[in-house]
């Protein structure tokens, strides 16, 4: 393999990894606030992207507005789901919400199939298709674009959590719910906020990645890569989610180059099992110990 090929593959890997990182961040944001896992995160991404696509086709919107539509759709859907369904189950065990989100993922997938069939569709891209030529190296603008766009969103999230009151409130709830409540923070409001935030992040990821993987009802399966990324980085840690995502993306793209091409799809699962068995705390995180 020439150096040019490897650079190209790593660039693609970083782009894919950035999407996984965004997925992982969505999962972690919800988990930190509510201690539950949203199995339907991928399907919500898929739905927001489909809605944006449908609106774009019907009204002929420019791409930037399409992104806005996706964000609004993602946020609203997340808010509705949290308030009407998840909120009711929040008193139960963490299984309950997980199972509910499993049911939700089935429902969303079926709805997408009913509305738009299970076919795959091309999605317009922000970025041109002609490769960027740097000597012998060729970089795909879409890889650079996805990476850059994701990075920008991650920076915005970091700023949100670090500098705003809302961010501090969410971090407080993540650390200790009871104390946060005593401090006057509405824990329920933080639940909704975390879901809406996750929905928005998912929507952006969806619009970025759809031109590459094509828009279809099975786009949601990307949540599994997101989960693996979050575990690699230490589930619950946001920087860990980003690192985990990048690592997974690059690994997935490099492995089939040197090993049989089919290995690509085993990578996230093998890595997940390996990390869980050997070092469940991940690269960065810490395993919680339950107090009796």
């Amino acid at each position: 393999m020439t150096a040019a090929t490897i650079i190209h593959v790593v660039a693609s890997g970083l782009a894919t990894g950035a999407i996984y990182a965004l997925m992982a961040l969505s999962l972690v944001i919800i988990y930190n606030a509510t201690r539950t896992l949203n199995f339907a995160q991928g399907e919500m991404l898929m739905m927001s992207t489909f809605v944006a696509w449908a609106v774009q086709r019907a009204l002929g919107l420019p791409l930037v507005l399409t992104l806005v539509v996706a964000i609004v759709a993602g946020g609203v859907m997340a808010w509705l789901v949290e308030r009407t369904i998840i909120r009711r189950a929040i008193g139960g065990t963490h299984w309950d919400v997980l199972i509910i989100t499993v049911g939700l993922s089935l429902i969303l997938r079926a709805l997408a199939g009913l509305a738009w069939t299970h076919d795959e569709f091309p999605f317009p891209s922000f970025f041109p298709s002609a490769p960027i030529v740097l000597g012998p190296v060729r970089l795909a603008p879409v890889s650079v674009g996805i990476f850059g766009g994701s990075l920008a969103l991650m920076a915005a999230l970091w700023a949100l959590f670090r500098f705003t009151r809302l961010g501090r409130a969410m971090r407080a709830v993540a650390q200790n719910q009871r104390a946060a409540r005593l401090m006057g923070i509405s824990v329920e409001r933080m639940y909704s906020t975390s879901w809406v935030l996750a929905g928005v992040v998912g929507a952006v990821a969806g619009v970025l990645v759809a031109p590459v993987v094509f828009l279809s009802s099975k786009m949601g399966l990307i949540v599994i890569n997101g989960f693996t990324a979050a575990v690699i980085g230490g589930f619950g840690s946001m920087p860990g989610a980003v690192l985990g995502g990048m690592f997974l993306g690059v690994l997935e793209n490099l492995a089939p180059l040197y090993l049989p091409s089919g290995i690509r799809y085993s990578v996230p699962f093998v890595v997940l099992v390996a990390v869980l068995v050997v070092r469940p705390a991940g690269l960065v995180g810490r395993i919680e110990r339950r107090k009796v």
Binding site: T5, S12, L257, S261
Partner: protein, 386 residues
């Protein structure tokens, strides 16, 4: 009369009347056909088009015109998502519960191959599957619905080597019966010209990413790269090679892939692509049958764009209609098979005149195409596959 006696008489009556209930799937007023096909998964589009907008399109028009010998045709479909195990389960349901007369236009090499044994055991005709693996050859109850892959390969290789003088070939193939059947056929046909395949990379069924495979194939510098894939990964192959700037190879799609569908997914990466087209251009062809097909589509499904997949289903239904018509009012599986075997020079208005003989092959044709401004343009006449 005692209860037992009357029960016995009822039973005897039932047995006596039984045989008059004749052929499964054929009643006084209707014929029931069906198949397991893809309505989800990698072939969701092609499956939906071949059945609901292809087979059903023809039968809608036929039923409105009175049906076949006084019977209307009804179809039942189940989704197997391109999975062989599901196809077997669905087919069993169709035969045992929905009591279909025959299977028509199922799709996918692996799923169809999986159902062969069951259908043969139960003597159910398998008509015009949308697949071309030679495994269906020589089976009494099977009539092929697509030019078989070994014939396709012969046409493709003979044209590329004989007329275009290409010498180095690579293959990007789906890692199952579909891909491997083509791979073996290419190897054989190239060997006849004293050539070998320079590189071959498998792609798992159901996945879309082919970036690693394209990188590996490029390293072998082939003049021609065969794509034996479904529309998703097929389009990805075109996009990927554009991304890495690999311009000095001709991408050639296999028969089932050659349609504007995967070009549409590839966007502007689709320029210069060539392929073997098994069907005339459904949108622009002036052949009388194709025009009739377009008119029917306009009448019944005006929002649906004509494509080769629905055209193939349309022809499958047309062939069934012809066979059933000739079999007459006493329509049984045996009379249908006999009628189909006697079809000589049947003019569909779409394909060259069809003669189905004992080999049960309904199609043996194809012609060369190249993409120009987003559509496949015809380059040659019908090629020979014998």
């Amino acid at each position: 009369m005692s209860l037992v006696a009357s029960l016995l008489i009822a039973l005897v009556a039932l047995v006596a009347v039984g045989p008059a209930m004749a052929q499964q799937g054929v009643s006084e007023t209707e014929i029931v056909l069906g198949c397991s096909n893809s309505f989800s998964g990698p072939l969701a589009y092609t499956g939906e088009q071949a059945t609901r907008y292809g087979v059903d399109l023809y039968f809608k028009a036929l039923n409105d015109a009175g049906g076949i010998n006084g019977r209307k045709v009804r179809t039942v479909y189940y989704d197997d998502g391109y999975k062989p195990q599901e196809a077997v389960a669905n087919t069993r349901k169709l035969v045992e519960q929905d009591k279909i007369f025959a299977v028509i236009a199922p799709q996918g090499t692996a799923p169809v191959a999986a159902t062969l044994e069951y259908l043969e055991e139960n003597k159910v005709p398998l008509l015009f599957p949308f697949q071309g693996s030679p495994i269906t050859r020589g089976k009494k109850y099977v009539f092929s619905g697509m030019t078989l892959y070994d014939r396709q390969s012969k046409m493709m290789v003979d044209y590329l080597v004989g007329q275009r003088k290409f010498k180095t070939f690579a293959v990007l193939y789906q890692d199952d019966d579909y891909g491997k059947a083509f791979l073996t056929a290419y190897e054989k046909d190239l060997a006849r010209h004293n050539l070998k395949i320079a590189a071959a990379e498998p792609v798992k069924r159901g996945v879309t990413d082919v970036s690693a495979q394209i990188a590996k194939l490029r390293a072998a510098s082939p003049q021609v790269t065969f794509l034996v894939l479904t529309p998703g990964p097929g389009a990805q192959a075109l996009k990927e090679r554009q991304k890495i700037g690999w311009t000095d190879t001709v991408m050639v799609s296999s028969g089932p892939l050659t349609d504007e569908k995967y070009l549409g997914l590839a966007g502007d990466a689709a320029e210069g692509v060539e392929g073997l087209s098994l069907w005339p251009d459904p949108l622009t062809s002036d052949l009388p049958g194709v025009k009739a097909y377009r008119a029917a589509m306009q009448k019944y499904f005006d929002k649906n764009e004509p494509n080769r997949y629905s055209l193939s289903g349309y022809v499958a239904a047309m062939l069934f209609g012809e066979g059933a018509k000739r079999a007459g009012r006493t329509l049984t599986r045996e009379t249908l098979i006999g009628a189909l075997e006697n079809v000589k020079g049947f003019d569909s208005g779409i394909l060259p005149p069809l003669t189905i003989g004992a080999d049960h092959e309904t199609q043996k044709q194809g012609f060369w195409v190249r993409v120009e401004q987003g559509r496949f343009k015809q380059l040659t006449d019908w090629l020979k596959s014998d």
